[in-house]
Amino acid sequence: MADFLAIWLPSWLALTLAALVHVTLILTLALTAAAAFTWAERKVAGRIQDRLGPTRVGGRFGWLQAVADGLKLVSKEDIIPRNADPLLFRTAPYVSFCASFCVYLALPFANGWVAQPLDIAVFFVLAVAGLEVLGVILGGYASGSKWSLFGAMREAAQVVSYEVPLALCAVIPVMVAGTMDLVAIGNMQAGWAWNWLIFHNPFLFITFFIYFTCAVASVNRAPFDLPEAESELVAGFLTEYSGFRWSVFFMAEYASMFAVSMLAAILFLGGWNGPLPITVWLGLAPNPATGYEPHALLAYFGNFLGMVNILIKATLGVLLMMWARWTLPRLRIDQVMTMCLKYCIPLAAVMFVGTMIYLYAFPVGLIFRSGGG
Amino acid sequence: MINPVAEPVSLMHYLVVGAILFVCGVVCMTAKRNAIGVLMGIELVLNGANLNFVAFGSPYLQSGGAPSLGLDGHLMALFVIVLAAAEAAMALAIALSFYNAHATVDVDQANELKR
């Protein structure tokens, strides 16, 4: 896009404009998603608890509930406790949000539709996603309340621990693909559903579930929401927050959920490729068998379909997390750590070795068409 | 008057930033009495050095014909980061241990062996 603009504009201006466009698009998406998920969460919770959930605001299904919530939060009084460290207390939510927002920089939405193509996209995503915890810790400390501090401590322990199995699980598809470039990984899974990496071998199939468990834990969702366990810590690190700052934390959480789900979709579930090669049939994607190259506009439309595809997959992931939240009871903190250290890490390591052996034994792959990059 | 933003950056720029970070780190190590503050100073020093490594290894800052460190710079920086992580874990453990024993983290109090 920057190159396209550079035809008319000086390069620095073109770059700046392109960056602004990307940022706007991503921000819009993230905020929209957060809003939509707040509503969805309420509806899902209601349905699971045999209630209706929001029904009034904005029609039959309470469509506008999220907007109403937002208005309420923005209009609330901004409170900073006396014991708080004002600077850190103010900064913390933005640190969190920044981190979870930056993840989208490297996440592709379709073939080539990515804000910043990175050779090490997987690595970058994992690194940046891990920064979200910093805001939580700072916020918890700066609140000057022991509930908050406890929450922050738990958050630190939990996230630092769960980053290990999460990264291990993410490395396994990377090993199969032979690249950390998410676009390349996504394109590799084009075609039928059995080209998806989750079906590449039995170890990867198990890995997906470990990944999802660890992802849930690393974004502090129930049943791993120890940092904000209301039955023990009032609201954990969020205790002293209210109004807009609280909503920023909230948006960061939803954005993170969506991001890890999207990463799961790309790494395991075929990314923007549907279960059937429909885009190839419709002539919207290049066909390697016939050497067909679609027109730019057709390819654009194909990419759009792909984006819809990946958003559906990511949304399904988030809904799954909601389902888990309203179904499973919360674990104790020692159970959480046991889960990580005694089950997830060894299992992930076994899957890693298993996949390695599998790749060594079947270099071409049994089901997967082209094993490795 | 040269417009600074119109010129491409050179190696010197990176080295200057590295130098500032390094000196900040040294000052931090020297001035802070808090053990963890000293630790942060060490991190700053390491980062200043790392910046130099990366700058020397950067393909963008290479002049015609001048050999750059290339990948070696990256790898050195990588090892520095990894070892810094190890060092931080160790130093923190020591600090915690010290805190448990003396109820303070003031490094000036850590002079028992002198007596």
């Binding site: 690194a127 810790i137 | 990176y14 970070l21 040294v26 963890i36 910046l51 700058a55």
Partner: protein, 214 residues
């Protein structure tokens, strides 16, 4: 007249990095220091990206900012109680430190500004002709002992053995070192109570069993 985007970004990040570094030095509150350090290191990671070292940059983010600093803050929060958070240094010491810091800075700046003289061409400037090359694969191969970046038409496999060895051994040493550190840190920072009382008593919460001398 034009603006080099690269340069603009560089200045932005450089000012951030230096500013936060100075803030670390000047701040007295240990937690704020940690926060400034995070920002500073993040900016340095940005500088790494800018210099084409994206893998190192990501590593910086992941390990330094994500790991080490969380650890650091952990330590801060475990030890920061009341007066400990602000331990003051005397003015005389500050003066001494400032003097030495200034002279060191002068020396280093002198070295940095004369960096161009170190080479025969006399000038080291940015060369925009280079295209961004992926670095993750060469780094991985180098850690396994193969210097892919030095393989070219003239120096083929035969040269692999001499003079262009990779970093396999340092890599292994570092990994073993990490394990040792992990165990050592866990041992050093373990709870003291366990050393003198059986684990059951320590976790049962029955304080009568605990040795008051602990």
């Amino acid at each position: 007249m034009g603006i080099v985007f690269h340069t603009v970004l560089f200045y932005l990040l450089a000012i951030l990095a230096c500013g936060f570094a100075v803030a670390v030095v000047l701040s007295n509150n240990i937690v704020r220091m940690a926060f400034y350090l995070v920002a500073c290191l993040g900016a340095v990671a940005g500088l790494f990206f800018l210099a084409g070292a994206d893998f190192v940059g990501a590593l910086q983010l992941m390990i330094y900012v994500g790991g080490t600093l969380v650890l650091l803050i952990f330590g801060v929060m475990l030890t920061a109680r009341g007066p400990l958070a602000n331990i003051q240094t005397s003015r005389a010491q500050w003066a001494m430190v400032g003097l030495i810091g200034a002279s060191l800075l002068a020396v280093l700046l002198y070295a940095a500004t004369t960096a161009g003289k170190w080479t025969h061409s006399g000038q080291i400037v940015a060369d925009r002709s280079h295209v961004s090359k992926p670095t993750a694969t060469p780094i991985g191969l180098a850690l396994l002992g193969v210097r892919a970046d030095r393989l070219n038409a003239e120096r083929t496999d035969a040269a692999l053995g001499k003079g262009m060895a990779g970093y396999l051994l340092p890599f292994e040493i570092v990994s073993v070192h990490l394990v040792v550190v992990l165990i050592g840190a866990a041992y050093l920072a373990r709870a003291r109570r366990r050393a003198t009382t059986p684990p059951m008593a320590a976790t049962s919460g029955d304080s009568n069993n605990l040795d008051p001398g602990d």
